[in-house]
Amino acid sequence: MTTLTDPPKESFRLSMLIYDSRYRSMTIQVVAMIFFMLVAAWLLNNAIINLNTLGKPISFKFLSNPAGYDINQRLLDYSSRDINLRAALIGLLNTLVVAVLGCITATIIGVIVGVLRLSSNWLVARIMTVYVEMFRNVPVLLWIILAWAILSESLPKIKSFRGENATSSMSLFDSVAITNRGIYIPEPLFSRSLGNIHLLGDSGLRFDISIDLIAIVVVLALSIFGMRKVTARANAVQEATGDRPTTWYIQLGILFVPMIALLVALGFHLGLPELKGFNFKGGTHLRNSLIALWLALSLYTAAFIAEIVRGGIMAISKGQSEAAAALGLRPNRTMSLVILPQALRVIIPPMISNYLNLTKNSSLAIAVGYFDLTGTLGGVTLNQTGRELECVLLLMLVYLVISLLISAVMNWYNKRVELVER
């Protein structure tokens, strides 16, 4: 503040970079960084030179050449004449499908098992322990292959559904067919569909958005908004008068009436699978490869999640549940209102790494012939084009981005949970 108290300005000498502790760590870091960059550049240069002498310079042109192969499970339209980039996109969507399905079921199973493992019922707790130890301690690849082998060897063959004396038949009023090629379930159809919005022309990344779906989401959102308003009003009335108006029938009405009206307007009906020719036609086909992968990844990851949940619950002091009991809460409400919300703070960070693991483990899909990203870009495309380095670099990049996105979302959620608590 005052120039008087300033110490005399010391002139800067080069040796201070090493001997002055204020600069030393900085110097070391800069030197290490330069060294690291040099090594990296050398490796990169070496690889490029070697690939050039081999006559295979790094090039991503193959991405815009026709893929040439077919993919069984595709969420967007795709044919063998589409380019490799689109095949990779189809694979990426398939990866995301198992990852999302897997994370959801793993969480549900994991939470249930984790809670039950603490159950005072000896048998239930023991069974859950066996489950956790069994799944945690065997590599997930084996579970995937086992699930697949069981599905394809033990479920009825298509031919047993055929002919006069068929030995198998469809379940649930002839709407679901369980076969060793997968499970066929009814699919939602709209006879007065509003059509699709087509985006990105005929590029490799083109896709359609169903207007029906948008309409459903919008109506649902509006209904939920309406329901909140009703709740808020009921709260206000309760505050003012002490009496809470009965609102459940209004709430149900707001939720269902517009939705049903919309569905009727769109001509909603279910398309049932039926046996035609070689296979079941119609309906949605959940292939064995998807089910096996989904099941194995969920059960495996759920075992880890169960442990995390158990740890999280045990971290909440006993006084909390005693206090809740003293207030007259029943045990299940104590769990859902007092224990679990607090346990979430402990649970969420390790949960992130389990979601990441599940997503990365989904690349084992190749073992059961599920066309995920590793199966398309890192499998058939890599093989047919011989572009190993390019494909692997792209694969790593995509998995990295997915993982970072999951981390980002979960970290955001984690922050929210923390704030609510404090």
Binding site: N72, N279, V380, T385
Partner: protein, 338 residues
């Protein structure tokens, strides 16, 4: 973390590229063993027998090369490869040559940089279905579930064939022939498709081969032959001329039974050149004078290898067809030994 992984991959690429340099013949001689890539198991072409000894038509080529180069048909390390791993194994130098039902195509030659030294089996892609399905033509397969090996020409041909005929199918990708067979027999797919020779070989191992038919359509050309990496022509020549020696031997009537007698001299100069009693062909290749004799003694000439492993008297029962000598109306033809 991300960075270290990428650099790891780059280092591997750098090393792999380094390993692919020339001098394979010297390497093999120094090692005293030939690393030969084969299938993971396709009876008749390459499969270990009950004693774990590899046997088959493609294995015969490996053994002939080992005999020609090292004088010992047993000096082979067989490396099982799948449709997907075979090219990486060859490009990285893990194997010296590949003899595995591999189709010679433009892109494998020009883009993947492999030298196909010849053709030891002219094949085409076929379809196998259970007879109870009552299918008589591949064009009736609309909507069928088809098992295919990934990383093969098969999956590309299949897509083209169904597209050209405007019919649909459901692909079930598999890694190895054994897996394909298991899936097909379990009824997880209606159709198994691969090279017709592979279908015949696979069907021969079924409990009831009569319950499965091969459809009449052959939808592609699949010239199968041994291959090596680009960039070592000398080594390529060794494999090429070993295969040609087996073919020429059949054409000239030299067999494993009479090669001993013939190598003491005949009045056919080409036989003499082949067997090294005249000229110095072996020396030109960098091999001993009796290299071709050793190759023929290893498992017999081309015709003998064919009859013993996949011919009409074996369970696989393939006719010579396109694979007859050119003198018998087939395509098997070797350039002259001179």
């Amino acid at each position: 973390m991300k960075k270290s992984v990428i650099f790891g991959a780059l280092t591997v690429a750098g090393l792999a590229a380094g390993a692919a340099a020339a001098g394979t013949l010297d390497d093999v001689k120094a090692r005293g063993k030939l690393n030969c890539g084969v299938t993971t198991g396709l009876v008749g072409f390459a499969a270990p027998d009950a004693n774990g000894k590899w046997d088959g038509f493609d294995v015969g080529v490996c053994r002939a090369v080992a005999a020609a180069v090292l004088g010992d048909p047993a000096a082979v390390e067989f490396v099982p490869t799948t449709g997907k791993t075979r090219f990486t194994a060859l490009a990285s130098g893990e194997i010296d040559m590949l003899a595995r039902n591999t189709t010679w195509t433009f892109s494998r030659d020009v883009d993947l940089k492999f030298t196909f030294v010849g053709v030891n089996y002219y094949d085409g892609q076929g379809f196998m279905v259970p007879s109870e399905l009552g299918v008589s033509s591949a064009k009736d397969l609309d909507g069928a579930t088809v098992c295919i090996q990934t990383g093969t020409t098969t999956e590309l041909n299949l897509a083209d064939f169904f597209r050209a005929n405007n019919i649909s199918y459901e692909p079930v990708p598999i890694e190895t022939n054994a897996e394909g067979q298991q899936q097909y027999l379990a009824g997880a797919c209606d159709v198994y498709t691969t090279d017709a020779s592979g279908l015949a070989a696979t069907r021969a191992t079924f409990e009831d081969p009569g319950a499965h038919v091969l459809l009449p359509e052959i939808i592609s050309k699949e010239p199968l032959g041994p291959l090596v990496r680009h960039g070592d022509d000398n080594w390529g020549d060794v494999i090429r001329w070993t295969l040609n020696a087996l073919i020429t031997a059949e054409e000239l009537g030299v067999s494993s039974a009479n090669v001993g007698e013939m190598s003491s001299g005949t009045n056919n100069p080409e036989v003499n050149r082949l067997l090294g009693t005249e000229g110095n062909l072996g020396e030109m290749l960098g091999l001993s004078a009796d290299w071709a004799k050793a190759a023929i003694m290893a498992g017999g000439n081309y015709g003998e290898l064919f009859e013993k492993n996949i011919g009409e008297n074996t369970p696989i029962g393939l006719a010579r067809g396109l694979n007859a000598q050119w003198t018998d109306g087939g395509l098997i033809y070797s350039p002259p030994f001179r």
